[in-house]
């Protein structure tokens, strides 16, 4: 109802102004459109084209159309690509499952704690945010040093406390612990900042009114804070899922360049590493593009479901 009411005036305006079409708005979006078309639109369609071919950018003479062959190969249980791709995709999904809840809950907790008038809170905000400014190589190397088996900090203290020290970087499921801990430490600060900004936007009078009505702290959190944060939480959950899907650097650097458990087909090899290997180590770029499109479709689907699921409660 509301939408039809709004549509009518738009239609009349459009009809009335048809004669003097202004190019100014188009000029405003032109720079972005050009960059978008060049760096997103073109690669997207070219990637789709590549995925239908036997393709190596250095051997144009070997290029030939294979239709859906590259995709079919990924669904053929007898092919090497089938085993490697789906195992790697399964690994990445596991990582999404382990990391996303932590990367939403922990930053939310930190943001709530730092949204108080505690002295020194700015120092803590900076401390929690600081790791996010490191590059993936630096963050991963730091944690490699902590988790490695020959005098690494983690095992040094575990052994000192009398525990059996696991091999974090060369056995499962310990590999996931190491990668998830490193990732949470590295990226939680970013989500924390966004949630903190959202918390500061919640009007104080809502809490005042609630306390006058006798609401407990928990009630204020579930009835005021969470509902007011919902749009931002949807954003956080979506971007965190996408970021976790793109896992590549942490397992790569923490296993000396994708060795041992992060090898081709290994239990800690993320799907992005498998795509990279197929495309730029084996140089089978058609097959690698097909893998990319399957993963991209999955990410679009998950993001869509996520929006739908969290919006419906409104």
């Amino acid at each position: 109802m509301a939408t039809t009411a709004r549509q009518e005036p738009v239609a009349t305006t459009r009809a009335g102004k048809r004669r003097r079409v202004s190019i100014t708005p188009y000029l405003f979006i032109l720079p972005h459109l050009l960059v978008f078309a060049l760096f997103l639109g073109w690669p997207f369609f070219y990637g789709l084209y590549i995925s239908f071919h036997n393709f190596d950018y250095l051997r144009p003479e070997a290029q030939r159309f294979v239709g859906l062959g590259n995709y079919a190969n990924l669904f053929n249980p007898a092919s090497v690509q089938f085993t490697r791709f789906w195992s790697a995709l399964g690994n990445t999904l596991q990582f999404v499952l382990y990391s996303v809840p932590l990367l939403v809950a922990l930053p939310l907790g930190l943001a709530l704690l730092l949204n108080t008038k505690t002295p020194g809170r700015n120092i803590f905000r900076a401390i929690y945010f600081a790791p996010w400014t490191l590059s993936v190589a630096v963050a991963s190397l730091l944690w490699w040093w902590i988790f490695q088996s020959q005098g690494g900090l983690a095992n040094y203290y575990l052994e000192a406390l009398g525990f059996d020290a696991p091999r974090w970087l060369s056995s499962m499921p310990w590999g996931w612990f190491a990668v998830v801990i490193a990732t949470v430490w590295w990226t939680a600060g970013f989500n924390m900042i966004i949630l903190l900004a959202a918390l500061q936007d919640i009007p104080a009078y809502l809490y005042e009114a609630a306390s006058i009505d006798g609401a407990t702290g928990w009630q204020a959190f579930t009835r005021i804070t969470l509902p007011m944060l919902r749009p931002v939480l949807v954003f956080i959950v979506t971007t965190t899922i996408i970021a976790s899907f793109n896992l590549f650097g942490q397992p790569f650097f923490m296993t000396s360049g994708g060795q041992g458990i992060a090898l081709d087909g290994g239990p800690l090899e993320p799907v992005m590493l498998q795509i990279y290997r197929e495309g730029f180590v084996r140089n089978v770029q058609g097959s690698a593009s097909a893998m990319s499109f399957i993963v991209a479709s999955l990410m679009i689907l998950v993001s869509y479901l996520n929006f739908r699921f969290l919006r419906q409660k409104d």
Binding site: Y57, L58, S149, Q259, D264
Partner: protein
């Protein structure tokens, strides 16, 4: 006001991040360009016996000054050795100026340079990459140059020379061989073992308390160690025409069994890559096997005990050692120039004749003459490791051959990390996957490079 202080904090943190990013850039960028202007090290590089350096240093009469780009993957401590050698060449050949660039992510760099037609004039290619780079139009045949440089198969061990030939044409000339090497702590292992029995005694004797006799990781270089033992027990990687993996033989199972036993008797389980090196450096490990390039890291000044390097023992009944090799090749040029090609030939000849200087970086010269020279014989520990390269094994010269080792590596890793206990099944599975990859590569690449 609160917001203001907050944004100041944010700014500081971001600035710190930028600094950190800059720091990261220098470590990962890794491009060392040695200026072409000659160093003062001219006279120090004495030509080795047999190499008439002076004789080849002449360009054709119609060529004036030639500038050459030379790329290699030597981003580690070996880079400066090659830089010095290049400087000496520039000083000795005023009309040829070579600019050396060392790159990380080497084959990706070569690939993008090939796509943008900006390949260097001379490049180092690893032996197992020669066929792949030839088929991907990165390097070109150099049969003519081999005649100009004046080398032939008789000048090198057969296997390393064969690695430079692709589909009947020569694409590269071997510069060095870097074999699997045994590093031992002479405080724990008095005399280095040379046979399987001696090895077991030495490893057993050094295993006591917190000390381990011999460490094996569950990642690199266990596939290489397996390969070496496979050949020592009389097995092979592939059949004669490279269409089928043959490592799932009796010899393969024997090799893997030996490794599993060695791991449970003398080593710790589930060590990550490089853990054996770090443990060895702590002084609690008798012996480890790794590439010769680790020499400066784990021997001499690198450690506080008596760290030594020597040839790996012969466990099986045939001599065989895993090795890599850096080979010199000419990348494809759209504007081929006889002057630059002639200059490249002179430069390659110089590097081969003076490869003793390069071997100081922890390499074994590929050239027989240089290995037999008195200067090299006096160079330790390289000289004591050198005899093993006579039996160095190299993969067949086929495009994409390194892909076929992926499944083998996965199999060895799964056994060494204890997730697979059936050795035969592990090797069978790897062979099936490798056969598929070999067949895929054959249809993908065809029989000969397009440039031939």
């Amino acid at each position: 006001m609160n917001g203001r202080r907050w944004s100041l904090t944010l700014l500081i943190v971001l600035l710190a991040g930028m600094l950190a990013a800059c720091g990261g850039g220098t470590t990962t960028g890794g491009a060392t360009t040695v200026p072409a202007t000659g160093g003062e090290t001219v006279a120090t590089t004495a030509p080795v016996a047999g190499g008439e350096t002076a004789g080849v240093g002449t360009l054709p009469a119609d060529c004036t000054t030639v500038a050459l780009d030379y790329w290699n993957p030597f981003t580690g401590p070996d880079g400066p050795f090659m830089g010095t050698l290049t400087d000496s060449f520039n000083a000795a050949n005023p009309n040829i100026q070579v600019v050396m660039t060392s790159q990380a992510e080497y084959y990706t760099q070569l690939g993008t340079a090939a796509a943008s037609n900006s390949l260097p004039d001379v490049a180092i290619i690893h032996a197992d990459q020669v066929a792949t780079q030839a088929f991907r139009n990165v390097i070109r045949p150099i049969d003519d140059m081999v005649a100009q440089v004046g080398v032939s198969g008789g000048d090198f061990p057969e296997a390393v020379w064969n690695a430079g030939e692709v589909a009947g044409k020569r694409y590269s000339i071997p510069l060095d061989i870097h074999p699997m090497t045994m590093f031992y702590n002479a405080d724990l292992v008095a005399t280095p073992p040379t046979t399987g029995d001696e090895f077991m005694q030495a490893a057993q004797a050094a295993t006591s308390g917190d000390n381990k006799g011999f460490l094996l990781t569950s990642g690199f270089p266990t596939q290489q160690i397996f390969s070496m033992l496979l050949y020592q027990y009389g097995g092979s990687w592939f059949n004669a025409d490279g269409t089928e993996a043959t490592w799932n033989s009796e010899a393969g199972v024997k090799a893997l069994q030996w490794m599993q036993d060695a791991q449970s008797n003398y080593s710790e389980p589930n060590l990550e890559v490089d853990a054996e090196l770090n443990a060895f450096k702590a002084g609690t490990v008798g012996m480890i096997w790794n590439g010769i390039w680790q020499t400066t890291n784990v021997t001499g000044e690198g450690v506080e005990f008596n760290g030594m390097a020597t040839a790996v023992p012969q466990i099986g009944d045939q001599p065989a050692v895993w090795a890599g090799s850096h080979q010199l090749a000419l990348p494809v040029q759209s504007d081929a120039d006889p002057c630059r090609d002639a200059a490249a030939g002179i430069f390659i000849k110089y590097l081969l004749d003076n490869s003793i200087e390069w071997s100081r970086a922890g390499q074994i010269p590929a050239s027989n003459a240089v290995r037999e020279s008195a200067d090299f014989q006096a160079l330790q520990p390289q000289a004591s490791i050198a005899p093993s390269v006579e039996s160095a094994i190299f993969p067949p010269s086929l495009p994409g051959i390194t892909d076929a080792f992926g499944p083998l590596e996965q199999a060895v890793v799964s056994v060494m990390s204890g997730t697979q206990t059936d050795l035969q099944a592990a090797l069978d599975e790897a062979a099936t996957a490798a056969n598929q990859i070999l067949a895929e590569n054959k249809t993908n690449f065809g029989d000969a490079p397009a440039g031939q």
